[in-house]
């Protein structure tokens, strides 16, 4: 009965809906235009996040010769959901003398920039949430905001360890941001525009839509390496996970967080690393370009497939590196950033300059590669001497 | 090159003549170590060279101009330009008078220098002596060749300076020092007149150049006629006044009557100096200057200037001759004889006879230089003995000196056919035509000249060598043994470089005379110097009387001194008893020095003292008074003005500023925000203004 009432009632409201749908008022369109991309991003990427955690724990397990979580679901597939539930239901402890407002605000600010990053990542041909003509710049502007989250988290929890963690994190992120941006500048110089879509388009063409990827250019490869190192440092992944180095300072800036806030922090972190991977894919691995990708519905679908494949590839790499690389000491970390990455990125920009002006391809290739290799040797020689300096101990006076 | 160009060429090279001795003097003065040989050689070679040039110029002028008028080429150049009109210029002239004088000076100088090397042989300041000598020669030659009164005056002063330096060569002797000062001051007095003359000449004629051969700008002498028309001072025409003033200068320099006192004392210098300066050249400079400016003297016929000149000359001649008779120092006798001979020359010039004066000048230069050199040899020979009473009998010891000395004496005393006779005769002839009294006095002077020269000959060369008498008399006991043994060397003959010069000079002393005589080219000298001058007809009376007088002088000299020569140095002069008081009077030079001492010296001393007092009392007094007044005023200002107004006012002013400062300081509170507030307040006010404008 209820259904019939419903169905009877439906045509009555159907007409206005149909009218509504046929020529909806202007604000509706605007609302929809905004709603769809947000909906897509919020749906897809948290899902990816969830399963990244699972893959990560499984992969780490494999690397450490153990089986990852497989209790929940067939191969531990439901493990992320279990984690999610666990975190949501956990009691949310707030330190007594913590700065309540800042303590609450920190995780929120941690998530916002990561999500905003996704707005400029072109998932497929023509499928980009927002096509800003200052795409990359917007991405970097937003990513700097994540620094604030780290700091507020560390500061608000009134805990020496968290504060130390926050300070280290901020220092690390700030110092790695510069080489990352400069690496991106190299790509922007070649493409001539900041918008991610233009960058992705610039990498189409060539045999099977692959050879034009920037990673196959000498400066592209160097840029790719620099950018990924920067991205990992940015999101405090393994080789650079000083901030929440379990062995030293418990969980770094989010020690005092538990329950949902902790989940948000994790969400923010992982989303940031996935977004950065997305941007890396867009800039260096040809974004959505792959054999078969092209305009039109089917081409679009294939391009989406390619994008997510590369994204997965990048995520696996980061997990793999997390599993195999030792943690880097703080001063080496900073030294490496300022003394090797930064000069290399500048050198890379110069190499792009050569590339741009030397029209004859073979000469361009020869010159840029030799230039980059030479500088790499010089910088590593300089950096090397420092690394093996004898370790000096300074006891507290 | 025709004759005129050659003459012009020669005039252009005239300045070379003084240049050589000047360069020699310069080099010697710059020598670090006095090199005796070098300086002697330098001086003698320099003099030789200038002598060659002078003779060359002289020979060129002998021929006379194209049509036998006097050769006179001039070369003028501006030395100093005040403005486009007024300028000081110098110039050289080549005419008979200059050429003759230059030749004589260089020739006589050359031989005197040769003698000087011998005379000064053992003197330690040898180089300094020769340096002064060549400097003197240079300035004398400069004087002679100058065609401009300014240049002439400059060289005139240089000559005076050199004579000052040379007279006082042995400055460590007080008498020499006094003598050099006396000589310099006496000539300076004359120079004042000279300088006034120059100024007046410049004032009247507008130029100091004597001859310019330029009708637009005629030389001073070429304007002589015009100057004669202008009125001068003391009732004379301008030309005569200038002439008179110039003559005063000549009197100073040529030791005429009032200003002659310095010449005898000048004998303090070494004998070659006396020979060169006080016989041949410097003293002749005055006479030469008169000769040079002769057109001025004769411009106004009736003027009393010429008579004045003549009488001065005559008085000097007689006066100094009388003194010469009573002198015992060999050089003083010659000095006074020079005085009298100069008097003769001036008398000759005064008697309108340029030729006579100049001729006597030249001849006198030769034999007087000869006599002085002879005296020099005698002094060297007798080991620096100058007193005639201690000499005697040198005939045996110094035959050559004796021979030449006798020749010189004969020439000087006017023995017939000698140079002196002819030239003196000319003068006496000219004076005879002019004024009988002057002629008589002149003849008497000539007689005296002959007398004192023969006196000198017999005292010095005849009789017994009285060198050692006096010592044997009373100086015996304190002599050490060895010295007594040969207390006095016998006089000895002088080496060749001393007697050769006056041998040469004696030749000229004899022959020069003939140049002026009528028999030789009808008085060649006359035509040479001043052909336009009317030759006064020779009267036998004058010539005969002068010969008689000369012979009588010599005879009388022989009678008194020759027959019975003095036995002992201490014996009185044979003439003394006959003349008695007059002899003593003459010996003391007519007490002229004492007269000057009493009058001029005392007068200046008192004036000096008076002025010193005046200066001390009046001038200093006034100054001190003014100083005191100013000091008083300043005191007043200090008390009233400074203390009260300035300090007071100033301090209070400072105080107020300081207070203000403290207030303002408060504004700088150091609080940053205060500054910021003030800043924004200013901005607010600015905005406010926006409303009202």
């Amino acid at each position: 009965m209820f259904l019939s009432y419903l169905l009877g009632w439906l045509p009555r409201i159907g007409k206005p809906i149909a009218a509504f749908l046929s020529n909806p008022p202007e604000w509706v369109l605007v609302a929809l235009a905004i709603a769809i991309p947000i909906g897509f991003v919020m749906a897809v990427f948290p899902g990816i996040f969830a399963y990244t955690t699972l893959v990560e724990r499984k992969a780490l397990g494999r690397i450490q010769n153990r089986i990852g979580p497989n209790r929940v679901g067939r191969w531990g597939i439901l493990q992320p959901i279990a984690d999610g539930v666990k975190l949501l239901t956990k009691e949310d402890i707030v330190p007594r003398r913590a700065d309540k407002f800042v303590h609450f605000l920190a995780p929120v600010i941690a998530v916002i920039p990561s999500v905003l990053l996704f707005s400029v990542v072109p998932v497929g041909m023509g499928l980009v949430p927002v096509d800003l003509n200052i795409g990359i710049l917007f991405a970097f502007a937003v990513s700097t905001a994540s620094v604030l989250a780290l700091f507020m988290g560390g500061w608000a929890s009134r805990n020496k360890f968290s504060l130390l963690g926050a300070m280290r994190a901020v220092a690390q992120v700030v110092s790695y941001e510069v080489p990352m941006v400069l690496a991106a500048v190299a790509v922007v110089m070649v493409v001539g525009s900041l918008s991610t879509v233009r960058i992705a388009q610039a990498q189409s063409g060539g045999i099977l839509n692959i050879t034009n990827w920037f990673v196959f250019r000498p400066w592209g490869l160097v840029g790719f390496v620099l950018f990924t190192i920067g991205a990992m440092a940015e999101s405090a992944r393994t080789p650079f996970d000083i901030p929440e180095a379990e062995s030293e300072i418990i969980a770094g800036y989010h020690t005092e967080y538990s329950g949902f806030k902790f989940a948000l922090f994790q969400l923010g972190e992982y989303l940031a690393s996935i977004a950065m991977a997305g941007i890396t894919v867009t800039m260096f691995l040809g974004g959505y370009n792959g054999p078969g990708s092209g305009p039109g519905f089917l081409g679009g679908l294939i391009s989406m497939f390619w994008f997510f494949a590369k994204l997965a590839f990048m995520i696996v790499i980061t997990i793999w590196i997390r599993g195999t690389w030792p943690r880097v000491r703080v001063d080496q970390l900073m030294g490496f950033a300022w003394k090797v990455l930064l000069p290399m990125s500048i050198v890379n920009i110069v190499a792009v300059g050569f590339w741009h002006y030397l029209t004859i391809r073979p000469i361009a290739w020869l010159l840029t590669t030799s230039w980059l290799v030479a500088w790499f040797i010089v910088l590593s020689k300089l950096a090397a001497t420092e690394k093996f300096a004898p370790r000096t101990y300074r006891y507290a006076s | 090159m025709d004759h005129a160009d050659y003459l012009q060429h020669l005039t252009r090279q005239q300045w070379l003549i003084p240049l050589f001795p000047l360069v020699a003097a310069a080099i010697q003065s710059l020598l670090k170590r006095p090199a005796r040989k070098l300086s002697a050689a330098l001086t003698i070679i320099a003099m030789g060279l200038s002598c060659i040039f002078a003779v060359r110029a002289f020979l060129a002028t002998i021929g006379g101009g194209e049509h036998h008028e006097v050769v006179r080429t001039v070369f003028n150049f501006t030395w100093f330009k005040f403005s486009d009109t007024a300028s000081l210029d110098l110039g050289f002239i080549l005419d008979p008078l200059t050429a003759g004088m230059a030749a004589m000076v260089t020739f006589v100088g050359f031989w005197i220098f040769v003698n000087a090397t011998g005379y000064m042989h053992d003197d330690e300041n040898f180089t300094r002596f020769f340096c002064f000598l060549s400097l003197f020669a240079a300035s004398m030659l400069g004087l002679v060749i100058s065609n401009n009164l300014l240049m002439l005056f400059m060289c005139w002063e240089l000559v005076g300076l050199c004579s000052y330096l040379l007279i006082g060569f042995w400055y460590f002797k007080p008498s020499a020092a006094a003598a050099m000062k006396k000589a310099f001051i006496a000539t300076r007095i004359g120079d004042v007149g000279f300088f006034l003359g120059i100024l007046m000449l410049y004032w009247k004629s507008g130029t100091l150049n004597l001859y310019t051969h330029d009708p637009i700008h005629p030389g001073a002498l070429e304007q002589a006629g015009a100057l004669a028309q202008l009125t001068g001072w003391w009732g004379l025409s301008a030309a005569s006044t200038i002439a008179f003033l110039l003559f005063i200068g000549a009197m100073g320099k040529s030791a005429q009557f009032p200003l002659h006192v310095w010449l005898p004392d000048a004998m303090e210098g070494p004998t070659p100096v006396s020979a060169l300066i006080h016989a041949a050249t410097m003293v002749a400079a005055g006479v030469f200057m008169i000769g040079r400016m002769y057109p001025l003297f004769t411009a106004e016929p009736g003027a009393w200037v010429m008579d004045f000149v003549m009488w001065i000359g005559c008085i000097t001649a007689v006066f100094s001759a009388t003194i010469a008779v009573a002198q015992f120092d060999i050089k003083r006798v010659l000095a006074y004889s020079t005085c009298s001979q100069l008097g003769f020359m001036v008398m000759g010039l005064g008697a309108h006879s340029l030729v006579a004066g100049q001729f006597h000048l030249l001849t006198h230069a030769f034999f007087k230089a000869l006599l002085f050199l002879g005296a020099g040899c005698v002094i060297v020979g007798t080991h620096h003995e100058q007193d005639m009473r201690k000499m005697g009998g040198l005939r045996k010891y110094m035959p050559i000196t004796f021979l030449c000395y006798v020749i010189g004496t004969l020439a000087l005393s006017g023995f017939p056919l000698t140079a002196g006779f002819f030239s003196k005769d000319e003068i006496l002839l000219a004076t005879y035509h002019h004024s009988k009294l002057a002629w008589i006095l002149g003849t008497f002077a000539a007689f005296l000249t002959a007398f004192y020269m023969t006196r000198q000959i017999f005292m010095v060369f005849f009789g017994r060598w009285r060198g050692g008498d006096e010592d044997r008399g009373h100086g015996q006991e304190h002599k050490s043994h060895d010295e007594r043994g040969h207390e006095h060397h016998e006089p000895h003959e002088v080496p060749w470089n001393m007697w050769l010069p006056f041998a040469m000079l004696s030749v000229f002393a004899l022959l020069m005379g003939w140049l002026g005589t009528p028999w030789f080219h009808d008085n060649l000298f006359h035509h040479y110097i001043a052909p336009e001058e009317v030759a006064s007809e020779s009267s036998n009376l004058v010539m005969g009387l002068s010969i008689a007088v000369a012979l009588f002088g010599i005879l009388l000299g022989w009678l008194i001194y020759g027959r019975k020569t003095m036995e002992h140095a201490t014996d009185p002069d044979p003439l003394a008893p006959t003349l008695g008081g007059l002899f003593v009077f003459l010996n003391h030079k007519w007490y002229i020095d004492e007269l000057y001492e009493a009058t001029v010296y005392r007068f200046t001393a008192t004036c000096g003292m008076f002025f010193r007092l005046f200066d001390k009392l009046v001038v200093d007094g006034i100054l001190h008074a003014i100083a005191w007044v100013v000091w008083a005023i300043s005191q007043v200002f200090r008390w009233v003005g400074d203390e009260f107004f300035i300090n007071g006012g100033f301090d209070s002013g400072c105080e107020s500023v300081r207070l203000g400062g403290k207030v303002l300081a408060k504004l700088q509170s150091g609080r940053m925000q205060n500054y910021f507030r003030v800043l924004s307040l200013g901005a607010a006010i600015l905005l406010l203004m926006y409303f009202f404008t």
Partner: protein, 168 residues
């Protein structure tokens, strides 16, 4: 469109006011960040999106972080704000002048007729254009800016660093 302007303005002003009134320094900085975001929003509203991005990148990314560091370094680590009173010496003079200036400006703008103007056309810039301009006719200020920033960098390091050297 106008509503967005009002919203952003309110956010900016609230941010600014809170930035200078709050007692706790960290909160001040956070409100300052809010203020910067408001300003960035205005830039995007005025279609100067490159400026918006730059504003976010520089101010929020760098200056805010710097402020936080400064606060960290200049207070006891615990960072409690303590009972000390907030306002400085003659605060009333400062407030007074600020209010006067605000009033005057308000009066001027209200009266002034330029202020009534509406946008004449649609302003649109592209980053390429700005890039070309920066390197084109604005190259001298651009290079000068580079020098200035380096100097500021070195200066800041030198001033802040001195202590470390002395200690060792």
């Amino acid at each position: 469109m106008d509503t967005i302007f009002w919203i952003l303005s309110i956010i900016t002003i609230i941010g600014a006011v809170m930035a200078i009134t709050l007692r706790n320094l960290i909160h001040c900085v956070l409100s300052l960040i809010l203020f910067f975001l408001g300003i960035a929003g205005h830039y995007f509203l005025l279609r100067a999106d490159f400026l918006g991005a730059v504003q976010v990148l520089i101010y929020i990314g760098a200056v805010a972080v710097l402020m936080l560091f400064a606060i960290m370094l200049t207070r006891h680590v615990t960072g409690d704000e303590g009972p000390r009173e907030v306002l400085g010496g003659k605060w009333w003079a400062g407030m007074g002048t600020a209010v006067i200036i605000a009033g005057l400006l308000w009066a001027i703008i209200r009266k002034d007729q330029i202020a009534q103007a509406l946008p004449a056309g649609v302003a649109k810039t592209s980053v390429a254009e700005i890039g070309k301009a920066l390197v084109g006719d604005w190259v001298v200020p651009f290079e000068a800016m580079a020098v200035l920033l380096t100097a500021a960098l070195i200066g800041a390091v030198v001033i802040a660093l001195e202590e470390v050297i002395r200690k060792r």
